[in-house]
Amino acid sequence: MIQPESLVVLLVGLPLLGAILTFVYPRAATAVTAACAAGMLGAASGVAYAVMVGGGWSQDLGGWAPPLGIGWQVDGLSASLLLLTAIVGSAGAAHRAVEGLDQPFFWPLWLFLWGALNALFLGADLFNLYVALEVLALAAVALIAMAGGGALPAAWRYLLASLLGSTVYLMGVALLYGRYGALDLGLIAGALEPDLPSALGAGLICLGLLLKAAVFPLHFWLPSAHGRAPTVVSAALSALVVAAAWYLLVRLWFGPFAGLQGPGPDWLFGLIGTGAMLWGGLLALVQRRLKMLIAYSTVSQLGFGLLVIPLAVGAGAESAWRGAVVLVLAHGLAKAGLFLAAGSIARAHGHDRLDALGGMGAGVVLPWLALVLAGASLIGLPPSGGFLGKWWMLQGALAAGGWVWVAAILLGTLLTAVYVFRMLSVVIRPAAPVPPAGGGGLPGALPAFVLALLALGLGLAAPVLEHLLSGDAMTGGPA
């Protein structure tokens, strides 16, 4: 029996080792990445299973206990996001391998991104989380810039926004360290008092993370960066990188910053989330390009996730908490599937202008099918993961009597349905004659299809998810 603690070590070490190998021996890049992907799928599944069986745990690195050393923590939330990362990372790598582009530096950058995400989902130390955020952002910027052309200014703007977010975050970390002499999340949670340094530190950290998560109204950098990046990079950015910033915000808000909770911040986050849902949805409606529509949809869907902050307190907290996590997981699977499918369609047509795309036909059947299925999960049709997440969130909101948030979720869902149908109205058009060269064929579209199926089937795993996420109260989730 392998110890789950060593599986966690594998989750961080394997992608970093892969990054070195693919840089030094680019000829073996796809084989190395495939081996890493297989290892991480196995390790992430093992970690999730261990959490289901025995609950979460925390471990010290290097034998040094906090406050001196750095700790890792694993619970249902981090285990499920680690698994999501493994799935989306593998699917993206498979799609990229089929695309067959000659850009050898893609692989080390991709694996660095992956390793940083895993380190971030495990970290329990404010400064170590900052370093993981930096690695993540740098890898993401370089990957966006790989598309060249119009992606370069988008990558540049993302770099500046991300650096600003990091700086603001680090200022907050410095204040909290100065106040409590600790960086460990658990130690700060135990000591936190609502005074000026703590409130200012927490506020700066949240501001930095909101900027990195591209939460309305700080979303200005996201659509062009996500819409113009290479296909698999868009998928990873929208499904994972944004989710990582959301994860950290939620982890901190219900962990060390729990002492600052109150009606004021709850309303603020709720209103920001509602604003994101509506504004992102409206802008997704008016986009002319398929990938840009999907990118604006990320702004909108992130708003749902943010509603966890006003909802996961008081009555119905547990249900709302579970719902929000499932919603983020379902969004990750569906959004990665959407981007990969859109990439296949765009390659087949040579562009992704919505008004000139042809419908479902030879060569693009599977991508359009993936688009339909992932769209269904995004709207929240049963039995998709989107449905389950919204259902649990609504249950939580109803139990707490939060009618405003119920209305907001329903309105956001309506908008989602409208822009998804706008995208899908292309399907019923007559098929365009597809040039035989493009498309990537069946293997290229397969990862997108698998992701869409997973998003759709996630709702069927409700009992498993409930079990996985129910133990979070002990390790940082809402009490």
Binding site: E5, S6, V9, G13, L16, L17, A19, I20, F23, V24, Y25, P26, R27, Q59, D60, L61, G62, G63, W64, P67, L68, G69, I70, Q103, F105, F106, P108, L109, F112, G115, A116, A119, F127, N128, V131, A132, E134, V135, L138, A139, V141, A142, A145, M146, M171, L175, G178, R179, Y180, G181, A182, D195, L196, P197, L200, G201
Partner: protein
Amino acid sequence: MLVFDALLAGALIWLAWQATHTPGLFRSVISFIVFGLLMALAWVRLEAPDIALAEAAIGAGATGALLLSALGRLAVTHEAGTPWQERPDLYFWIPAGAALLGLLTLAAWALPTPGLGDDVRRVLPDSGVANPVTAVLLNIRAFDTLLEIGVLLLATIAIWSLGRMPMPSAPAVRSPALTALGRVLFPMFVLVSAYLLWRGSHAPGGAFPAGAVVGAGGILSILAGAQPWLTGGVRGPWRILLSLGFATMLAVAWGVMALGQPFFAYPPGLAGLIVLVLELAAGLSIAMSLVALYLAGQPPDHWGPEAARR
């Protein structure tokens, strides 16, 4: 001393403003470099000599060289940019910045001074080194440093992924004095860096300043017309040397598990040796990365006459 500190703080703010708002990029860059030097002085006043060394070597030295070489490659424009008096957004940013600064000052005033210095000194005998900063960087919080060394490798890969390096790598006209100086100085750079590396175990120094000094020496010798030896191809030792620090840290983190230790926990008795090996490997990779960053792109696979002519 209070007067000196006040002057220093005032000069820092003035230079920061100059670096961001003066018309003309050259003056901005110079202000930035001077800012880095004065910042190093400020760290000395705050009794943080390790940070002062790093700030002077990287903040002023390496970054300054990068900025100047970037400036040299930019197309010459005589546009002064928008003078700050005509930028309406400053009416938002200046009050917002002042408010944040005020809040930060109030908060900093209210801070106790706990810190973990005493705790680190208490466990110092177990860490294998006598310098608390090195103990924190390469033993107690070595996982942070692993990721930070990773950032350097990642930055190199990111820059290489953007395209080939611009040619030529050195200014067309260079002073003959520089060539001679480069030849004489490079061994000095290596010597100083070896001293800093050795010092790191018991006094301020260590891999970061040592690597920065050798890297700066490499940049200087390229400026002086030396052929850059770093190639971008797969053959040759360069990719391995660039990854050496990161790979060694990862190997140690995993290797100790073979000795029955937890992840990244050095076996007692071997800690001093492990830290020394990590310092050497990391210092070498830091120096390589700085030279690679300075070349601003993937170098050619071979440095032949045809590469120089391109």
